[in-house]
Every structure is written in C-alpha cells, then in structure tokens.
C-alpha cells in the first residue's frame, strides 16, 4: 500500500511538472516585445537581430522550440541567460541556497512559534488566554508576508535601527565560501561571525515569511488538539494519573499533528512563494529576487529555469509531506 501510494504520487507529480513546463513555456513566448532586440545596443542591424535570434533558437516554431528546450532540460541544460550571458542552471544553483536557507529558517520559526501558541492555547482552553491567542492569531494570519516585511523594515531598520535591511551578509566580513549555504558552511567551518551576520540579515525576512504560517499552525493545531483532548483515550490517560500537560505532549500532540502536517506542507510552498517579494523587499540575493529581474528584463530562458526549479521544489515538498503522513500514520504504514 505504501509503495503503491509512492508510485501513484510520483506519476501525478510528473504530469503536474509537465503541465508547469507547458504553461510557462507558452506564457513567456506570447509575451510582447523582442527580448533579443532589447539586449542589443540601439544601433543594431536587422541582420544582427536575426543572427542572435537564430542563436537562441527563437526562429523555430513554438512546438519545435518546446521540444528542444524540454530535451535540454531533461539533460540538465536549461539554456543560457540572455541578460547575464551565463548558463541558467549555474545562475539558479548560485541563488537557490540563499532562498532555501531563508525558507527553512522561516519554517522553523513558524513551527516553533505556532506550535508553542497552539499547545498553550490548548492547555488554557476555555480561558481568556485562549481567546486572546485566538484573536491575535486571526489578526496575524490575515496580514500577508509583504506587509510584515515592510513593517519590519520601518520598525527595525529605520525607527529603531538594530538590524540590517538589505543583503545577505555584512560585506565587510572576509570569507571564501566553498558553497552558497552560508549558514551551514559557517557552522561547519566554525566561523560564527559569518553565521551570526547571515542570521541577522535573515531574521526580518524570515519573520515576515513565518508570521502568517505560525498563526495558521497555531489555529489549526490548537483546534486539532482540542478535538483530540475530548476523545476518550486522553481521558484514560488522565485517569491513569498523567497531568494535563503530559496528556497534551504524550497523547494528543502526535495525533493532532497528523492532520496539521498536510496543511503545513501546502502552506510551506506558499511561504517559499512569498520569498519572491520578500527577498525583493530586503534586497536579499536569492532566487526570487533574481526572478523578478528576469521578468523585468524579459530573460526568457532564465524565467523558465527559475519557475521550473520552484515547481520541482513545491512538488517535492508535497510529495515529502504525503509520504511522511503515510509513515507517521499506522493505518497507512503497513503494506
């Protein structure tokens, strides 16, 4: 049953991915304006444009272009960026680690914050504390990451300037990175000034991304906890002499977390989607920031590559969530 679920999910993931490839390909082709003309200096001749158009393969028919592009993608060749004149895969890989580190940090913040609020709310259910937490999370939830980001820029960047509002790391720090995972590499190589500076730059964008998700986790997990805490097996644990907190942590949390998990998966992809604008806001050198530049500059190969990478990431996350749900749930585990 488990292997069956895995195979089924994988096959639908491939169909979805193909759909994404088609949509993005069509979308960037119907965009008005000739990207080749844009990249040449104003005095370029028709001949120059035609030559460059042929070089990038834009003279062929759309289906032909699609097949060529997809064939390349399957071999790991995403084409060459028009504006940056570098292979797309290298560009994407150089920016992806920054976005991943930011997203994962935001996820951890959201899980910790939302989980804590949910447990406290469930422990104090029926009291003013719960009502206060409910109202707070409803308000926090309705404000999107973009606005939180702006608010933080204003509060902690200008009015009380304690954090840097742009970039990924203090440019004065001298350090040769072997990878683009600054935090991971900093920890592994014991350079805690690097880690500290990177985290300080990440804190505000990560918080902006994390707050709505934290509020959602707080709401949903608390609701699930309260439902579980009405069930008889938690009553049995209470009769057995376990304290209310022990009952929540020992019996209720795992059962309540299961239905929450699916939601967190979908919401995590939304969070990563949010990095696009939040990175822009904080001038953070991630994939999303590059994507917006690519769109503004009509860099078709780069847009395609970035969108595809995001899609793969999202689909992989959903797949991982589905599978871990099956692994954590005894009903689905065997077979």
């Amino acid at each position: 049953m488990f292997a069956r679920t895995l195979l089924f999910r994988l096959s639908t993931a491939l169909v979805t991915l193909f759909g994404v490839a088609v949509v993005v390909f069509v979308l960037v082709r119907v965009a008005p304006g000739n990207p080749i003309a844009m990249m040449l200096p104003p005095g370029a001749t028709e001949e120059d444009i035609a030559r460059l158009t042929a070089l990038y393969g834009f003279d062929k028919s759309l289906p032909e272009q699609f097949v060529i592009w997809l064939g390349g993608v399957l071999q790991g060749d995403f084409g060459t960026s028009i504006t940056l004149r570098q292979p797309v895969d290298q560009l994407v890989l150089s920016r992806l680690p920054a976005t991943l580190e930011l997203s994962v940090m935001a996820l951890f913040i959201a899980l910790a914050l939302g989980g804590a609020v949910a447990v406290i709310g469930a422990r104090r259910r029926g009291t003013g504390t719960e009502l206060g937490l409910d109202l707070g999370s409803a308000a926090v939830l309705s404000i999107p990451d973009f606005l939180w980001g702006l608010l933080f820029v204003l509060l902690f960047g200008v009015l009380w300037p304690v954090l840097s509002i742009s970039g990924r790391i203090d440019p004065r720090i001298e350090f040769e990175f072997a990878t683009r995972f600054y935090v991971v590499e900093g920890i592994l190589r014991g350079r805690f000034d690097v880690v500290g500076s990177t985290l300080a730059h990440m804190l505000m964008p990560a918080m902006a991304l994390a707050l709505p998700l934290a509020a959602m986790i707080a709401q949903v997990l608390k609701q699930n906890l309260k439902e579980v805490l009405r069930l008889d097996y938690t009553n049995l644990s209470r009769v057995h002499g376990f304290s209310e907190t022990a009952v929540i942590l020992r019996d209720a949390l795992q059962n309540a977390a299961l239905p929450t998990l699916t939601l967190v998966g979908v919401q995590f992809t939304f969070l990563i989607g949010g990095t696009v604008i939040v990175e822009r806001l904080f001038a953070y050198e991630g994939l999303g920031n590059m994507a917006i530049d690519a769109v503004i500059n009509r860099d078709l190969p780069l847009i395609q590559g970035i969108v595809l990478v995001f899609a793969v990431l999202f689909i992989a996350i959903n797949l991982a969530v589905d599978l871990s749900y099956a692994l954590l749930n005894p009903r689905l585990r065997n077979g």
Binding site: R125, G126, T127, R230, L231, D232, Y233, N235, L236, S237, R238, V239, H240, G241, F242, S243, D251, Q254, N255, L258, L328, N329, P330, R331
Partner: protein, 289 residues
Amino acid sequence: MTDRPTLDILQLTVTLRGGRKLLRDVSLKVQPGEVRALVGESGAGKSMIGKAVLGILPPNIKPTEGEILLDTHHLNAMTPVTRRRTVSKIASLIPQDPLTALNPVRKIGPQIVDPLIHIHGWSRDKARERARELLDRVQIRNTDRVLQSYPHELSGGMRQRVLIASAFAPSPRLIVADEPTTALDVTVQKQILRLIRELQQETGTAVLFVTHDMGVVAKISQRVSVLFAGRVMEDAATEDVFRNPQHPYTEALIAATPSYSDLNRSFSPVPPALIADLHAKIAAEEAAS
C-alpha cells in the same frame, strides 16, 4: 462487606461556567463488590457523575458543592496533583466508545503497560505479565500479537475487551464504566457485560455503571440511581426498582423501554405531562432556594 463504601458522594453539585447546574445535590454510595447503575436519558447528567469522581470534567464544568469520598479520601479538598495521583491509584475507567478510547498511533501493549509502570511503579516484566494475564482473562487469544497491534487492527468488540483488561489490570477498588456497550451490537454487548460482571465478582471491585438502557440496568446492577435533569429521582436496589418502582419517572422509563417478551406493557412513551411536572417541580425548588 464492610460498612465503609468505596465511593461516597454527598450532595454533589456540578456547575457549567455561567452558572447552570448540571448536577444538583447528588448523593450516592457504591459499596465494595457492588455494581451501582446510573440511568437516565441524554442530558440527565449521568456521565457527569463518573467524570466528576475521576476528575475528567471538561474545563468549563466544575464541581461547586458537596463532597466526594473515594475510600477515605476527600477528593474535593485535595490539590489537583494529589487528587490525580490518589484517584489513579484507586479508580479506573472503561470508556464508552472503543473506537476513540485507544490512542491510534500507539501500540496496544504500551497503552496497557505504561500506566502500570509509570503510575503504579511496577517493573516492566511484572506489568507485561499482568497485561498478558488480563488479556487472557478477557478471552483474547494470540495475546502477543494483540499487544503488538495498533488499535485499528482490532474489531470494536476486541478493543472493548482490551479496555476492560486495561481497567482491571492495576486491581482498582472502583471502576467507572461509562456506557461501555452503547456502541456495540447486542450479541457483543452481552459478551462484554458478562466479562465485566465476572471480573467484577472475582475481584470484588466496586463499579459505577453509567447507562441509558433499563434493560442493561436490570441485568448488571445490584443498585440503581435514576437521574433526571441532574437530580437523583430514585435510589434503590435494582430488584425493588423493577418489582415496585417508587418514582413515576422510573416507572415511565421502564415502560418506555421496548420489550419483545411483554407486548402489553412496553412501548408507551414517557408521558409528556410527567416530564412537564418534573420540570415545574424543579423550577419551583430552584426559585425557593
């Protein structure tokens, strides 16, 4: 039998936040070795009594007056922590719905054994031995396999057996059985009732048996408290209640329970006038107090 009851509830009042009283001046005793049935229709508060004793009332419901004596312990005078520990050593629970009474993500074994180790301080071997013994006693074959199973792998009847075994495992003095057979088919219900009765008689455990079914009351209990709107209408030996009910509500409740063997007597609804009278009487009492 000694004179001291295992459970002695005196004038217990339980109040919903906002002031509505769900139980009012409820008094009852359960003697060692006795099955006391609590019977009533939905909303009568019958489950509240067991929950109040065990300390598992929902957070918005609190005991406000009266005393609960479990053995010699005044439960309502204790701090929550001592109360919890005291109750867990003396009493246990057979819950209503076997489908939601076992934690779905944990195996059966730990669910029986853990409380014996953590609360009663037994060694792991002794606890396992006891679990096997009890599962054997409730006629579960393949004890080892069942201990290794997850709840969803067992049928409803099997789960209820596991729960009975778990309730009797620490040799409690009192068991609260909260509608333990309501969710089961009649044939399974009979087996489960038989098991509870046998184990109870062998161990001399006192049982507070909550049910809505006068038929079950007749079969399992020695004494019965009939509840209506949070009050005890009648408290008597089961035999007397069925031979000669003292309260008209008790009589009506028996008459409303269908019985295929006596076509003349049963199948008559509880007279609405009676219900209205009872409510009026209660309202008058409330106003007077």
